[in-house]
């Protein structure tokens, strides 16, 4: 019965932060939904009954006054991106669980990292432009030739789910894998993907042909890669970023790319996002930039929504037990 379904809050359907109709329908199989704008118009009707919030692309924004107005709230389900913006301690103190669909996005994000690495190394974007009638790169020489991937050295910074899956995918290419992480992985984990730990990130930067950034954003990770770190990298090296735009000092990166300090960059994320029209990164020839595609494939997004629903239902069924992918404070 429709009325038996618990009420959930979403930012909306359609538009920049909303769920698509298809995904809203997935939620409505198990929940009634109210959009944020309707809640604002009619708070007395909806607020007391909301038991779950589904956050999509960081919306709706969870502020303390909103939390205080939802006495029945038991769970906030996120897609993993942007839960770092939540005041986790405050939410936990209110007895509300947070879930982050852990693992769902990591395959698609690791695939994107490999796609960016290969596209950059093998000059796929330039090649397509040449074939379609664009200008041939001027001056024959070594820089016209692409970079080999097989047998090269891959340095992964951030060896969580995504970083580890990138390491796994690189094994097929016989890449030598180095990684840097706050904590070292178990030797079984390392052996399974042939990864060697670099306690000192500088060592990784010096030795890598490809550097992939897959860190979670935290205060320590902001501007992790700046002028100094870029100068340690090989002039033939390629930087790939699928974590957060804030992890890289963009001005330093632009300078490094213009001066040949590093060879190329392939970025799914920048800060700000989007970049202003006139930003030099937009016109650099040795950059590939994708518009924050992340895990966005049709089937992964669908699975993501299904997981969020599943996790929220699990918490409602047993509020005393953590959901399937709870965030521990």
């Amino acid at each position: 019965m429709e009325a038996d379904k618990p009420l959930s809050l979403i930012s909306g359907v359609g538009g920049k932060h909303g769920f698509s109709e298809e995904h809203a329908d997935l939620i409505r199989q198990h929940f009634q939904t109210v959009c944020y704008s309707d809640l604002l118009i009619n708070p007395h009707l909806y607020a007391p009954k909301i038991q779950a919030v589904f956050i999509w692309k960081s919306n709706p924004v969870i502020q303390r006054c909103l939390l205080q107005s939802l006495p029945s709230l038991k769970v906030i389900a996120t897609e993993g991106v942007g839960f770092d913006r939540l005041d986790l301690r405050y939410i936990a103190n209110m007895g509300v669980k947070v879930t982050n669909a852990r693992g769902v996005a990591s395959d698609a994000t690791a695939d994107l990292a490999m796609a960016l690495l290969l596209a950059s190394a093998r000059r796929i974007v330039q090649g397509h432009q040449t074939a379609a009638g664009g200008p041939e790169p001027t001056a024959a020489g070594p820089h016209r030739l692409a970079c080999d991937v097989t047998g090269s050295t891959l340095g992964i910074i951030g060896m969580g789910d995504v970083g580890y899956k990138v390491a796994r995918r690189s094994t097929g290419f016989e890449m030598n894998v180095l990684y840097h992480n706050r904590t070292q992985r178990s030797s079984e984990d390392e052996e399974a993907v042939g990864a060697g730990y670099c306690g000192n990130m500088d060592d990784l930067l010096r030795n890598s042909d490809y550097v992939v950034l897959a860190v979670n954003l935290s205060p320590g990770a902001t501007a992790l890669i700046g002028r100094r770190e870029l100068s340690l990298m090989k002039p033939s090296a390629i930087l790939v970023n699928v974590s957060s735009g804030l992890v890289v000092d963009l001005d330093a990166l632009v300078q490094a790319l213009q001066s040949g300090t590093i060879h190329s960059a392939a970025l799914d994320v920048t800060h700000p996002d989007p970049l202003p029209r006139s930003h030099p990164l937009r016109s650099l020839p040795n950059v590939i930039a994708t518009p924050h595609l992340g895990f966005n494939t049709a089937s992964t997004v669908r699975r993501m929504v299904q997981r969020m629903v599943h996790d929220a239902l699990a918490v409602l069924a047993d509020p005393g037990r953590p959901g399937s992918s709870p965030v521990q404070v």
Binding site: S20, A108, D111, A131, A146, C147, P274, L293, T297, A298
Partner: protein, 324 residues
């Protein structure tokens, strides 16, 4: 002592060895270019080898007739469909290629094309460079998953097997079609299942990669019938030779959404004319045949070419002689 003379296109030209790698050749040989022998035929009898890099429209009967001391023709790469081997052999001249130098680079590019197509890298990059404030990505920018999807490999030779190895690390389900089935142990190592009937492989694959040699049998191997057997959500990736695909049928299949996308390193002709429909279809990537164009691989190819020439000139069996 004077170095032996080889004939090749002038370094840096199209279909010539890159200028930056010329020293690898000039270490062993004196290079005579086509323009020189055209204007100075006294060089003809010095030529003991011909180096072919890409196409070789110059290599015909009338040329072979005026090179009395020619011992070997060495072509960089794996394909030899551009060489009239029986004709060349009829002059007592060996033909060699470099099949083992190109495997990794070609397999890497096959994966790169699959991922670039699947995740809409090119459209994404265009969008990032040109979009206005407030213009966001929508579902049309969403790509397709690669991990855990089904890959069909058509042609499971050296390079096909390398692609399987790479795909396995993405947890792909792998089917392959080949004239001969591989030993079970080899199949197990890459998790590949044999499909004796090509259409069966085409019916189940999300991504189809073509890695056959071009021959009479494989010309237009993928035509109208085969394209209709594919899933409407499937992507065709070709890194073998353009003629393996019936290109007109492919254009039709893409226009009618019989298949979803294509990513091609090879076409016919190469390059395609600027107004060719393949170059303006939204879900198509076309590259200018760059399967082996990496610095390291190009070096390996040239060194392998040199090894073959040196062996042939010494009267030994070259490591990569092509016997038809």
């Amino acid at each position: 002592m004077e170095k032996p003379c080889v004939l090749a296109r002038k370094f840096g030209n199209q279909e010539a060895v890159y200028s930056c790698l010329s020293s690898l050749v000039e270490e062993h040989f004196t290079v005579i270019d086509l323009e020189t022998i055209a204007s100075q035929p006294e060089f003809n009898q010095k030529i003991q080898a011909i180096l072919v890099w890409g196409c070789c429209s110059f290599l015909n009967r009338s040329l072979l007739q005026v090179l009395p001391n020619l011992k070997v023709v060495v072509s960089g790469g794996a394909g030899v469909n551009h060489l009239d081997i029986p004709l060349i052999n009829s002059f007592g001249v060996k033909v060699c290629n470099t099949p083992n130098a190109v495997g990794n680079a070609t397999a890497d590019l096959a994966m790169g094309l699959m991922l670039a197509s699947a995740r809409n890298i090119i459209q994404g990059d265009s969008f990032s460079r040109c979009h206005e404030e407030g213009q966001d990505i929508d579902e049309s920018h969403f790509g397709r998953d690669v991990s855990s999807k089904t890959l069909g490999i058509v042609g499971m030779g050296n390079i096909g097997y390398k692609v399987a190895k790479r795909a396995l690390a993405f947890d792909m389900k792998i089917f392959y079609h080949n004239r001969r089935r591989r030993p079970v142990e080899e199949e197990r190592m890459v998790g590949a299942e044999y499909c004796p009937v090509l259409e069966d492989l085409l019916a189940v694959s999300d991504y189809v990669v073509l890695l056959v040699n071009l021959s009479k049998a494989s010309t237009h191997l993928i035509g109208r019938k085969q394209l209709s057997a594919m899933k409407s959500t499937a992507t065709l990736i070709n890194v073998s030779r353009g003629m393996v695909v019936d290109q007109e049928a492919l254009v039709e299949a893409l226009q009618n959404k019989t298949i979803q996308a294509a990513a091609l390193d090879v076409t016919y002709p190469e390059p395609l004319p600027r107004d060719h429909p393949l170059l303006s279809l939204p879900n198509v990537i076309v590259l200018p045949h760059m399967g082996t164009h990496t610095l390291e691989t190009s070096c390996h190819m040239i060194k392998q070419m040199m090894a073959n020439v040196l062996a042939a000139l010494a009267g030994e069996t070259p490591p990569d002689e092509v016997i038809v």
